[in-house]
């Protein structure tokens, strides 16, 4: 039986990268996680305290707000009395990793030995399939976290705005296209005091964007493309569909959301040269625990969008491997995976209803 150890894990890791790169296999085994990469592209905060592999930590962010509008009319005459003014309000936000996505697979050792497909290929394909599941599940949670942190739309004049129950702005289908919606969103951003925003879309504008891009070289018809040039457009058809919100888009402030990820166990580089090939012997049996990077540049790119640099090049997934003896008497090399992460909103400063995320929903005309 092939022994799995840190050397074999490095060989399997190469095979895994080849599966992601090869078009025939990447179609089925590469994760689609556009919402995740969009948040990482627009993330400004680095929460390294939460991500340390050495120590599990929770983080409490504290700050003082001076949010009240206390400016007043004065006179030209000065006074020698310096009046006591209002103090700032102490605030605090606690952060911790609270998303743990797991998956696992086993292969009977007999199958590994008798198959015409190589050991590396079988194991790498299993890992690729599970990582795809994990990343897409996490991506689904990213979309859910964005929705959970939506705020009020301050511009209530043009379309129906519900700032009370569902916090959503409904826009008729006829207006859900660049020449109507982007100028409207510019006014929304201005009134929301946003400095830099982007649009994350579940598919409402997918075809409109493509047509606008294709029209750009034409002598006329540049309007839509030029408007899209003012508001970065990102889409995630899979992540939104997984949340059953494909008719929705979000106008998001840059830096409104952040992603943290922690690898608890050492990387294969750190295990290199380790005693017993990286295996740990316990009273519960023998385990090999390590973490593998998911290189986000190797997963499929967002269709017709060239994204900027991501704040993280990779996410890490912890892997626990052992050989389980089953009741059928067969040995089952087994791999368990766990992604430890968090999707964190920017701490709200002055206005509780201004989260930097505005939800838009397309409705029938």
């Amino acid at each position: 039986m092939t022994n799995f150890n840190n050397i074999k894990a490095a060989e399997v890791q190469l095979k895994l990268q080849q599966i992601w790169a090869e078009p025939t296999t990447s179609k089925d085994y590469s994760p689609r996680a556009n919402a995740l990469t969009t948040v990482l592209e627009n993330q400004t905060a680095v929460i390294s305290e939460l991500e340390s592999s050495d120590t599990k930590r929770d983080v409490s962010v504290k700050w003082v707000d001076f949010c009240g509008d206390t400016a007043a009319d004065g006179t030209d005459a000065d006074t020698c009395v310096n009046e006591v003014a209002a103090e700032g309000a102490g605030k605090k936000k606690d952060y911790s990793l609270d998303i743990f996505v797991t998956d696992k697979f086993s292969v009977a050792s007999e199958e590994l030995e008798s198959s015409v497909i190589s050991y590396d290929e079988i194991v790498a394909t299993g890992i690729a399939a599970k990582i795809k599941n994990i990343l897409e599940k996490f991506n689904e949670k990213v979309v859910a976290a964005i929705d959970a942190n939506k705020g009020n739309n301050p511009f209530t004049a043009q379309f129906a705005v519900d700032n009370t129950t569902n916090k959503v702005t409904t826009i008729p289908a006829a207006s859900y296209k660049a020449d109507s919606i982007i100028p409207y969103l510019a006014q929304v951003s201005e009134l929301n005091r946003s400095n830099s925003t982007f649009l994350l879309d579940g598919g409402n504008l997918f075809q409109d964007y493509m047509k606008a891009t294709a029209n750009m070289p034409n002598a006329d018809g540049k309007l839509a493309g030029t408007l899209y040039g003012t508001l970065p457009y990102r889409h995630d058809l899979f992540g939104f569909a997984a949340n059953s919100v494909s008719d929705v888009s979000y106008l998001i402030d840059k830096g409104a959301m952040a992603i943290a990820n922690r690898a608890k166990w050492p990387t294969l580089q750190q295990l290199s040269g380790a005693k017993d090939g990286g295996w740990t012997h316990t009273s519960n049996g023998n385990f090999m625990r390590y973490s593998i990077p998911i290189d986000l540049s190797s997963i499929p790119k967002m269709t017709f969008i060239s994204q900027g640099q991501l704040i993280k090049r990779s996410l890490f997934v912890d892997v626990q491997h052992s050989v389980v003896c089953h009741s059928d008497g067969k040995l089952y090399p087994t791999w368990n995976f766990k992604l430890r992460a968090a999707v964190l909103p920017n701490p709200i400063r002055c206005t509780a209803t201004n989260t930097g995320i505005i939800k838009l929903k397309k409705v029938a005309d």
Binding site: I7, K8, E11, Q18, M216, P217, L268, S306
Partner: protein, 313 residues
Amino acid sequence: MSKKLILGVLGTLFKMPEVEVAELLKKSDGSSDELDEDKALQLIIDKDKARIQALNDAAKTKFDDGYKKAQKESMEKLEKSLKTKYGIDEELQGEELIEAILTAKVTEVQKQSGKKELTEDEIKKLPVFLNLEKTLRKAVDDAKAEGEAAVTKLKEEYSQKETFTSIRDKAISYFKSKNPILSEDPIKADTQVNNNLIAHLNGYKYQDNNGQLVILKPDGTRLEDGHGHPMTLNALVDEISGKAFDFKAAEDRKQAGNGGSGGSGGSGGAGGKKYSGKAPTSAKEYADTLLSSDLSLEEKDDFKSTYGEQFSG
């Protein structure tokens, strides 16, 4: 880039229906419906060359027009001034105008002096004739010199433009060999390069000294590196592009390259890059090389095929 987008862009550039562009870009072995991206790239490059040639032709015509205009303007300015000063109404130019002024002036002098009509030889000896002729000849010479100075300036500007076209091509060729990360949209990519590289290169002057390029600052002094050596074009491109672009660590495509790091290209096979580093001496070195981010997948695959049997678990 998507097939649709490539067909759309090339169809617009060549003013051809997309089906014809698709036929043109079919893989030569007919292996799939996918477009031959190398052919597409070559078509875009050819189209760009044609665009640059058209611009150069237009610039040459503009220069010839400017040359004639500079000469004509100087003479016209002088002739207008002389006609006003000596009261000549006729549409005369050059030598004819000078003759007319001299004749008018001598006639006027004769009338004032009341002397008999003089012969041509007697006229040419008169001090008033000699002084006037000298003044007029000098004015003509000055006008010619002014016109030639304007032409020289135009020639310099044209030469700079021609030199810069060649510099631009060399700079772009070198820049692209560095694997810059550009927008996949060719129009955006072109704008990125023009705004962040070409516009900065255009801020310098370029002199060709017997085949050796000298880069000059706007004040005419030589551009030098930190060691006082003349700055080369590649070094200048490195300096400018380093501030505005990120670069891929290695060639992504399957053609053999200069080695280097981590593209995410295909999975090896015929034509893939070979590992050319040192042989591992231990299992640790073998694993470290496999996990290294400095090698492409093709190189790692070749490395594993060569040394895997010796060190694999």
